[in-house]
Symmetry: D2
Subunit: 129 residues, 4 copies
Amino acid sequence: MPHRVSYRVYYEDTDSLGVVYYANYFKFFERGRTEYLAAHGQDVAELNRAGVLVVVHSLTATFRKSARLGEMLDVVTGFEVKSPFRGRFAQRIERDGELVVEASVDVACLNPEQRLIELPASVRALTDS
Amino acid sequence: MPHRVSYRVYYEDTDSLGVVYYANYFKFFERGRTEYLAAHGQDVAELNRAGVLVVVHSLTATFRKSARLGEMLDVVTGFEVKSPFRGRFAQRIERDGELVVEASVDVACLNPEQRLIELPASVRALTDS
Amino acid sequence: MPHRVSYRVYYEDTDSLGVVYYANYFKFFERGRTEYLAAHGQDVAELNRAGVLVVVHSLTATFRKSARLGEMLDVVTGFEVKSPFRGRFAQRIERDGELVVEASVDVACLNPEQRLIELPASVRALTDS
Amino acid sequence: MPHRVSYRVYYEDTDSLGVVYYANYFKFFERGRTEYLAAHGQDVAELNRAGVLVVVHSLTATFRKSARLGEMLDVVTGFEVKSPFRGRFAQRIERDGELVVEASVDVACLNPEQRLIELPASVRALTDS
């Protein structure tokens, strides 16, 4: 089962077209990934202190609908290990069950010297089932 | 009794000094004002549709402590009507009861033509007692 | 020839990993698209006033390197009309000629009622040659 | 003579009221302080690497006018040393010579352990005359 977490749209998220600014959806997606990991016992700040930096390597996103001030958005997040070095988050933002934005976000892990390292065993063990 | 609402600190809120970026605290304060108003029956998006734009006229803020990734911050918000045209939010951000940032935020209301108008009666009726 | 415009990295762009936050690169890309259009006689604010909202429909991005506080980043932007309803920006962010992030951003046009409309003739006429 | 630097308003800066979001003006002010310091030989990233973190301690701001998408804003910055531990930036944002926002921003310096330290001699030597 994918993980769900909800956030209200505030002024900070909107732009002068009256809708959520496209770059800000990536903040919602990152909140969803952080809460997914926390729900699975992986604290991002602790991983950092342990020398593991989870970073976005690549992503695709499709914007289906516009969200507006005051609306509640659900961030839905699933995760799949693609290789020892790569994980993929399948994410979508919904409003009352309607798809607003969907994204596929590939992450990798760096050490503090910005060198690629394997995903920690605790992350490689994650499955959504 | 002042209103309280809590938010986690995400990457989006931090900067390269490892702490919450000063301008981003004003997003937390604005979330607190929006939720304060909602808790008192005043929906900001509905006020906008009714032609009432609540805007910040002036503010002061003092930054006491630094907040960091993953921490939970409480936004504490009180409100006082200062005149028919001016309301003042007394706000602070706390972490486990410790003061992080405090602010005093004066707001006014504009009509869609950006002219100053009186605070709506429903807002002038607000008190924290 | 693709269009180039440069911006410095400020604190607002960074996060607690000490690098530019991934979502903020999309602000740089949007600045690049706006300046590309301006350089070709298309003012985004004027298009809005004329009832033409240029919005992002979908995108892909790959993050190759990390950028840091104080660095100058070049946003390089090309444009191609894909259909009467769709344009594609090929964009990259460079630092001293080194690729930092690359993106492909598909845009469409909406009218003020959020209905899909054709790209304006002035936009369909754009080529980078 | 105060220091001046100009920036265009992009979508990222605006909100659904059609104007620049109040918290985002503090990004403009911080850009102005960074460029003021750079113009006076003080590179913020280098100061950080030398263990000097310039942070905002307190501020006041008054919002006089609204700025909109596509407008050019001038950030005007002056600086005054108030004590060995405190500097004050007097800043304003102008549009075609008209005052939009004015702010007074007090800064202090921390070491990497977040302890208050004196302003570096190079900063204490700054004057606008």
